[in-house]
Symmetry: C2
Subunit: 239 residues, 2 copies
């Protein structure tokens, strides 16, 4: 049985303009690998409603799980929640359960729950909330789409809230062999090995260090015995 598939949608002009280096993709990729969910595609789009809606629809239809980051804060450019509602043709407004969470959070610090902050309680009908232990304002899940914050500390906390609810498959095992030869010398034997082990994925990641060429060969799969067999055959080919 193959693992469930997933896609991520990163939302935010700041990533596309080069102002901010995204870290959420790398974080989510690692977390999903560990539980055996195969991240198959990531898209990064700006704060434009039509683009976000189209991407959500496409990814939701193509993959079992979708995860979004960004665009759920209190400012005018935070339009993700409304886009998700539009993508699934759901009504959206400030919802009582989300408002209660925000009211309790801001009451503690004596901060006014003004119109802007209330924007973070806009949740589509039918969505379930995602817990945010960092800054209270919840994410939410609608259909197969998990909507989370862009701020990395909040994103990571929300991923932790979501992970236990996912049905994973066999965890991906990954082992690496460093070979101090040019990638062009490795390619032939590696290609033959990949053909002999069709259930494993083999990647070659070249480096250059102190003027010498080498590559880290990464063999991935779910059957550790096969991975070890392949690794030892590969090692034998280069001794």
């Amino acid at each position: 049985m193959s693992n469930p598939t997933a896609a991520m949608l990163v939302i935010g002009d700041e990533i596309l303009s080069g102002r901010t280096r995204d870290s959420n993709m790398y974080y989510l990729a690692g977390q999903l690998s560990e539980i055996g969910v195969d991240l198959k595609e990531v898209r990064v789009v700006g704060d434009e409603s039509d683009t976000i809606v189209a991407a959500v629809k496409a990814l939701s239809a193509a993959y079992e799980y979708v995860f979004t980051s960004g665009g759920i804060g209190p400012t005018h450019d935070d339009i993700t929640a409304d886009c998700i509602a539009a993508a699934f043709d759901q009504h959206i407004d400030v919802r009582d359960d989300a408002r209660a969470i925000l009211a309790e959070h801001y009451a503690k610090s004596g901060t006014e729950l003004n119109t802007a902050r209330l924007r973070m309680a806009r949740i589509p009908d039918g969505a379930t909330l995602i817990d945010n232990p960092v800054s209270a304002a919840p994410g939410f899940k609608l259909e197969n789409v998990h909507v989370m914050a862009g701020v990395p500390s909040v994103f990571q906390a929300m991923v932790a809230s979501v992970i236990p609810s996912l049905t994973g498959g066999a965890a991906l095992i990954s082992k690496t062999l460093r070979i101090d030869r040019g990638e062009g010398d490795i390619a032939g034997p590696l290609g033959a090995l990949a053909a002999a082990f069709p259930k494993l994925s083999m990647g070659s990641y070249p480096f250059q260090k102190d003027g010498k060429y080498g590559a880290n060969i990464v063999i991935r799969g779910t059957d550790e015995g096969q991975i070890d067999d392949a690794l030892s055959q590969l090692g034998a080919a280069f001794t």
Copy 2:
């Protein structure tokens, strides 16, 4: 006149599995901003032919420039060149001009130009080569798609080779004002300001430092006078 649009396609299982943190997206985004090309979308896909071909077709049709990274080395999982050829229905084989570049490069180091290395001379008909001053093996441009390496040092060198050939627009100017207030307090005045300056893009990037909340407000546009006006109005609202 609006700026030309662009998309990027990052190709590689190692990004999606969480093994490698991509840096090429961030680099390209910054370079394109400087010359006034608007990066509108990024997709990350794995080493799967059908997926790559579909993404290339979609992005090439939707944007003026497309840039790819990854999958042009000598190993069996380097399938990008063949996918680009397939996307544009072009013949592909080892091409004499690319072979000559590799032959000269490997002759210098006394390295055999074997079958695996020759794979890097597979260039679609009709493509023009992109110079690679780091490790010789060229990228190429076919239609509006620029095909470049995934190794960051090579990717960056290829981007430098490509940038002078692009027709940019007005460079994006970006100025930042730090406001030491919760984003929920900033959102109202910022929304009004964004409505008053429809040609500027305003983003709010919250942070938490030493237990205090604040946000960097980034105002972007091509008219520096307007940006300065907006910044001073924003500053006045929070003093």
